[in-house]
């Protein structure tokens, strides 16, 4: 056998070996497919073997795998290498605010005096934890201009639910229970209409397609006589990356009609430390601590979605809320906050995220946060200025902390937004948010955040320009196969949905 032939055979065999690899990219089988070890990966003492006092028969075989600690470590480390993350590179997902996650926050959240504190232990033994929550409440109140703050909601969508339920509770308390309509612009995140529906509201859509903004006329039309309007949910800056410039007049009309203004805080990074939503007529707003205040996204949670409200709405906030009496901090519940809309989450909320957010806020301070907003807005406008000739910019500028482009100039060549996104993957850049907002076709929503250097942004611009140039030159075939050098190529999502396999089976 020739040496050459032998190499071919070895490489063919490699492809068939489960767990085989290409260079440093390891394939990895599932935990259930590994050789079963004799002992668990955790050494535990031998039980005494006493007679059970559960009153029930002991459980039979569960079907868990059994692997040693080194195998578990290697399994998850290998899996991790298949992920892209902010610590790898640019991650310009619009309206997601993928900024640097400081490790100081992680370190502090792991102090035993934060990590190993029980939510129901006597308050006299948890004053430091309550102090963290109280300080964060005060700071969020100051930054939003909305002084009533509850940290309980677990995520942005949960904050929306808390906010809309607070509005509902306020209407009930004021004899306005008949108000059953929620106004939502068509550029809203899907969570807005879903939240309104969960709260039993009927939805009325405000069209924004023409200019990317709500106009006073369109708002008036949706408002009608306003008698049954409970409120309006608006993200500002909106998901087209634009500030709703008529917002003062719109909020005035809404308030005159007896409705409340819910501000979706997803895009607060454009304003933090610079302008206050409370001064724009917002009555309730949720804050995404995992966006604006740098708590890690963790591959999809945990988030944290505190809500901030006007003094008028504060009595209706969910419980618990941290209060300060003299020098003592305490959690106030229904028995003291009789007008509350109730509980929305077990215990205190995502406290570990409260610690991280406070650590981030103290690190930046008032001066740093203002710079955060300015750098975020500057970077997005820079991208818009550099790419608006190569890609269609439907609404022009200036934008706020994210900019919206579309595939209008490319799509006739057969290269569409999805291909552009996958080509970015091939180039080691996470795609922008695609096909959202829904108000334009083939949307690409780009949010650079303040934690990217100009070099990093320039590299993105270069790649985007190269894509546009290749499309223009007719060099389009390659785009439909990208990404090729990623851990996986394009997936068969249709079969995944048609024949769902949602768990491992032997």
């Amino acid at each position: 056998m020739t040496a050459e032939r032998k190499i071919v055979e070895i490489s063919e065999a490699m492809e068939e070996i489960p767990g085989g690899n290409r260079g440093l990219l390891y394939e990895e089988n599932l935990l259930w497919e590994k050789e079963r070890s004799d002992e668990p990966g955790v050494d535990l003492p031998e039980p005494e073997g006493i007679k059970l006092r559960t009153g029930q028969p002991a459980r039979g075989d569960i079907g868990l795998p059994q692997v040693s600690e080194p195998q578990v470590m290697r399994h998850f480390v290998r899996l991790s290498t298949w992920n892209y993350s902010i610590d790898h590179g640019f991650f310009p997902l619009g309206s997601c605010t993928m900024k640097h996650n400081p490790r100081l926050n992680e370190k502090i959240a792991r102090f035993p005096g934060f990590a190993h504190v029980h939510p129901l232990q006597p308050e006299s033994t948890a004053q430091g934890a309550l102090r963290v929550m109280f300080e964060l409440q005060e700071i969020l109140g100051e930054l939003t201009g909305l002084p009533g703050v509850c940290l309980a909601p677990a995520a942005g969508a949960h904050g929306e639910l808390a906010g809309i339920m607070t509005i509902r509770r306020a209407h009930d308390a004021k004899g306005q229970s008949h108000r059953n309509i929620m106004l939502v612009p068509d550029s809203a995140h899907g969570t807005n209409p879903a939240t309104a529906a969960m709260c039993g509201y009927e939805l009325k859509v405000i069209p924004t397609k023409e200019t990317g903004r709500m106009t006073v006329a369109a708002f008036k039309e949706a408002l009608g006589d306003g008698k049954n309007v409970a409120g309006m949910m608006v993200t500002n800056p909106n998901t087209c990356g634009l500030f709703e410039s008529d917002i003062l007049e719109i909020s005035k009309l809404l308030h005159e009609a007896g409705g409340y203004f819910y501000g979706d805080g997803a895009n607060f990074n454009a304003l933090v430390g610079k302008a206050r939503p409370g001064a724009l007529g917002v009555d309730v707003m949720h804050i995404n601590l995992h966006k604006t205040f740098s708590t890690p996204h963790g591959g999809g949670g945990p988030g944290s979605g505190p809500i901030c409200v006007t003094k008028d709405l504060a009595p209706y906030l969910p419980v618990p809320v941290v209060e300060k009496r003299g020098e003592t901090f305490r959690l106030a519940y229904e028995d003291e906050r009789k007008e509350t809309m109730g509980r929305l989450k077990g215990f205190t909320g995502q406290f570990g995220m409260h610690v991280r957010a406070l650590s981030y806020i103290l690190s930046h301070g008032a001066d740093g946060l203002k710079q955060v907003a300015e750098d975020a807005v500057l970077s997005a406008n820079y991208i818009l200025s550099q790419l608006k000739g190569d890609y269609h910019a439907p609404f022009g500028g200036p934008c706020m902390h994210e900019c919206l482009l579309t595939d209008k100039f490319q799509k006739d060549s057969g290269v569409t937004t999805i291909d552009i996104a996958k080509t970015l993957c091939e180039n080691g850049i996470h795609p922008m948010t695609v096909y959202f907002p829904l108000v334009v076709a083939g949307a690409m929503l780009i949010e650079p955040t303040e934690t990217e250097s100009k070099d990093s942004i320039d590299r993105f611009i270069t790649v985007m320009k190269k894509i546009a140039a290749d499309v223009k030159a007719g060099d389009t075939d390659k785009f439909h196969n990208f990404p090729e050098n990623t851990p996986r190529q394009r997936l068969d999502e249709v079969t995944a949905a048609r024949e769902p396999k949602l768990r491992w089976r032997a």
């Binding site: 006092r53 600690e69 992920n83 993350s85 504190v117 945990p302 205190t348 934690t451 996986r488 949602l502």
Partner: protein
């Protein structure tokens, strides 16, 4: 500022490229009245050391569980976390990734979710599980809403002692829907589901079959809520339920003063399209290699908007990963042994405290938590007095009752310390 890479030069260059004189020019659409005059009224920036000192001082004001004997549970249990878990969840690739919307570059997260879903399905004896929900309380509320959608009925029945926060959240969620009600008791012809906490809030273990029969007779669904998932290593699987949901924080995550915790949600395959939350499924990529992807998203808010099964966006991703790593380390033998160790610790604790003649055991059949009656009118005072002695003595129930929990963390020394201190304060 250490988190900001822009320089004076780069800012100037970008402004020039944009053709703007100042950043404020970019903010011109915002009404002047909304701008903060100068700086917000919060402290100025601090160095890493200063922040660490300040928040370190706050942390030191708290009594941490390792500081002394600890017997508090009530839906949140103190367990050991292997060092491997925290190492894995702090890897950048997991910690700083987004929801896996681009599956080609997110297989690590997706593969781990798929394993998480499998673990939860196996533990609960259900066919399928989702990628996790916020916590046990919200998972319970989501289960009730799903039961209402499936049965087109409006009454939610709480069958036994349910955790107060779970009850509260259930009432808040149900309160949004016209005609919905939350009541205690048994199922009738209007009942969407019966909710049973397993073991119940007082730690009592019990058999589910009688409830299954009652639900079948009334055409109601059976929802089993587990807030100490370690119990599923010793108690019979709640496989007769239609939905099993609850709290899985005990495996892999610290108590963290109430969050982030880890809601789980498992059910039958036939109900999948009414299920809330993210789901990860197996498929193939263009080269035919096994791959994972978020699927059945037509149930979700970003597609269905106001017709979605829930407004929930993401899961508790990193918490689900911590769970998955910890339970992978435990494996079949380790998990079952952990459950037995918890039970035995609770048995020793129960024997010790009931040696004090005036203390009566109220929960006869239990897993790792039980209620006792103290010979005093106010157990909250007793808990406070013991806290002053460095012992976190459990959850004060109404009157003279106390809820005590033990886990693998509980040592014989801890139990002896509680015994003597309790005897002393009761004397």
């Amino acid at each position: 500022m250490r988190y900001l890479p822009q320089t004076k030069n780069s800012r100037a260059a970008m402004l020039q490229a944009i053709g703007a004189k100042s950043v404020d020019e970019l903010y011109r659409d915002i009404p002047k009245s909304a701008f903060i005059d100068g700086l917000a009224d919060i402290p100025l920036h601090m160095g890493e050391l200063e922040v660490e000192r300040r928040l370190g001082a706050y942390a030191n004001e708290n009594h941490a569980a390792p500081d002394g004997p600890f017997f508090l549970g009530a839906g949140c249990y103190y367990h050991h976390i292997p060092a491997t878990v925290d190492h894995i969840i702090q890897r950048s690739e997991f910690l700083t990734a987004y929801t896996p919307y681009q599956p080609e570059i997110a297989q690590g997260t997706l593969n781990a979710i798929f394993e998480f879903q499998t673990f939860i399905a196996l533990l609960t004896g259900q066919e399928i599980a989702n990628a996790s929900l916020y916590d046990g309380a919200t998972a319970t509320a989501e289960a009730a809403l799903m039961a209402m959608r499936l049965t087109k009925r409006n009454r939610i029945v709480i069958g036994n002692a349910l955790h107060f926060d779970y009850r509260g959240v259930l009432q808040s969620y149900a309160g949004n829907l016209e005609g919905a009600s939350v009541v205690d008791g048994g199922p009738d012809a209007d009942t969407a589901c019966v909710i049973l906490q397993y073991p119940d809030f007082y730690g009592a273990a019990f058999a589910l079959d009688a409830w299954r029969k009652k639900c079948d007779a009334a055409g109601a669904l059976l929802v089993v809520v587990v807030n100490e998932i370690v119990a599923l290593g010793l108690l019979p699987a709640p496989d007769c339920a239609d939905i099993v949901c609850g709290e899985a924080r005990s495996i892999g995550l610290p108590m963290s003063f109430g969050g982030p915790h880890l809601g789980f949600f498992a059910t039958k395959e036939k109900f999948v399209r009414q299920m809330p939350g993210r789901l990860c499924g197996m498929t193939k990529d263009a080269q035919g290699r096994r791959s994972f992807v978020l699927t059945l998203s037509t149930r979700e808010q970003h597609i269905r908007r106001e017709k979605a099964t829930s407004n929930i966006c993401t899961n508790q991703g990193l918490c689900a990963l911590a769970f998955t790593v910890h339970i992978a380390l435990l494996g079949e033998n380790g998990f079952r042994r952990l459950a037995v160790l918890n039970h035995e610790a609770a048995c020793r604790l129960a024997d010790a405290v009931t040696k004090i003649k005036s203390v009566k055991l109220l929960t006869q059949n239990f897993f790792n938590e039980f209620a006792v009656e103290l010979p005093c009118g106010n157990s909250a005072n007793i808990v406070e007095m013991l806290a002053q002695r460095g012992i976190i003595a459990g959850y004060a129930l109404d009157g003279g009752q106390l809820l005590l929990a033990a886990t693998e963390m509980t040592t014989d020394g801890d139990i002896a310390a509680l015994y003597s201190a309790l005897k002393e304060v009761l004397a």
